[in-house]
Amino acid sequence: MTAETTPGAPGPAAGAPPALLSVSGLTCELPTPAGPVRPVEDVSFTLGHGKTLGIVGESGAGKSMLARALMGLVPRGATLSGDVVLDGVSISRLTGKDRRKVLGAGIGLVFQDPMTSLNPVVPIGRQITEGMRFHKGIKGREARGIGIDLLRQVGVNDPAKRYDQYPHQLSGGMRQRVTIAAALACDPKVLIADEATTALDVTVQKQILDLLQSIQRDREMGLVIITHDLGVVAGRTDGIAVMYAGQVVEKGPTAVLFDAHRNRYTAALLRSMPRLEDEPHQKLATIAGAPPQPRALPPGCRFAPRCGFAQPECSQGPLELVRDAPGHHYRCVNPREVPAAVGDEQPYASATGIQQ
């Protein structure tokens, strides 16, 4: 499918030829009564033309804040540092209008809940064409024509009629298609889908993911899929970044991340998914405890208090991303061993998925 995973080239690999989107050292700091917190800390990745990146993590890992930080949509009082370069233009150096122009037209964003991202009292057609009216000055009949065409592209039936309808007249899946149409209205170079399918039925989720993928291929866009579900990104991304407590703890080409991940949190996350191949009533692997509060981050490895492989060294000093192979980086003091064939743990996601 998407995964023409030529080693080294895809997704988060550093030093890949001119990246479409390049993020380096992105940090978002929020002031709180108890002192500053960093929901996103030192995040770096690159996304190539026509490539798909998955960003995976649990709630509170900072993935949604990362999407907002990319767009500069952070709460008042927050400070952003680091650099975001979209198609050769460094966004961090832009301000006000210029920034809006580059970001608003260059990056499309699709959120989890279409009912809150759509305005309930405005016909969907006007919401889809808002961006092109603002950024491109396309108005009136021309905007309508493009809007109806966008609805058709995202698989909304009877688009001319739907164009004048309100969000409540559509099903959840259709509404999400509408928000995708709106995100595509300005021909973005990158589309970010932030848990865009989480609220949908699995069947509709699959349809929407298929749709995103086909749109991405047709338009050669960059696509960023943010999700808590490793299953969603498994067959649909070139690269994956796993986030925990605001940091990227592992990133690499998709196949490498599943087969040869080193970070213990990545391993635990993969193991904790219920699988259809397992017998019913088996004890599921879990991760003990809960992610740390941003105000009380453990020193050193932030996952250490929940990690079954933690060593005393894990809690000493900040932990850097280590390069394992070209394009594969992880943060771990006591990483998982990945021998060629068998190891101390089951190789997850083997070709058949059957575990003996």
Binding site: K206, A268, L270, P274, R275
Partner: protein
Amino acid sequence: MPAGAPAAPVLEVDHLIQRFRVPGGTLEAVSDVSFTIGRGATLGLVGESGSGKSSIGRAVIQLPPPAQGAVRLDGRDLTTLSKAELRDARSGIQMIFQDPVSALNPRRRVRDIVAEGPAILGWPRERAEQRVAEILTQVGLDPAAFGDRRPHQLSGGQCQRVAIARALIVEPRMLICDEPVASLDVSVQGQILNLLEDMRGRYGLSMLFISHDLSVVHAVSDQIGVMYLGQVVEYGDADVITREPSHPYTRGLLDAVPVPDPHAALPETRLRGEIPSPMSPPSGCRFRTRCGFAQDRCATEAPVLRPIDTGQVVACHFPLHGGAAPAVQEPAVAEVTNTSGQGGH
């Protein structure tokens, strides 16, 4: 599977029909569904939103009572009980919900939330207090540390633990779980599913487990019923349903489950479109408008549940295996029966 006569089922749902009045008419959310659940057994109900699975759960616990049909708990028909009788009977059947945070009263302390059932049943204070501490410990919450907290001081997973404690403190025979892990993170999902399994073993609980996620349902269920537009379209042992689905809809649901394996080819999306409005279900087979195998017969004749050789029952004229349905069929007996009578392990 025990030989000989199975013990009397804990829950019998008999030709249950549930209707709701909505603007523009009456909506039939559940159309003639029957099943039984034995002691310690878990029946999983799976389907898309609008399939009627939650309506079944609520009708079983009489919230609201079904429009038609019987719901028997230990042989006693809940639909015929008076309000006072029902209040007593509810200690035998409890429910937990999808959003554990909003299911708990935000102004009350964990201790008081959990003690609600005993208070209604008029337990002596000492016994109630003792049992609150016991059940909180069993669900993995230290009573000393958590007893005086309020829901907003807890994580989603901890709130679900409190909800489980509240449901199980009165030692019900039957627990209805309506999407209990849908709003939880994957790592916490496993904790809650393990806890439910643990409680099932400890109390010999029977469970009706409702979820849209087949991989979750599969992890805890003995049998799985697949629902579409108010009807059960396929039913059988959990691993038969997930390994050898016979109904095209079950196949579609399975294909849509995201598989955490980058090497597995993405299955073709056969299940197109969305579930039609239950206000006007399609004639004949209700699934035919989304089915890739539909033929003329499907539009005129409603398929009935019938057993096939792989062990499950399926309501389909042209199932994926098990052979086409005979031309003339017996009058519909939509009897879905839990056969194992007891839990796995």
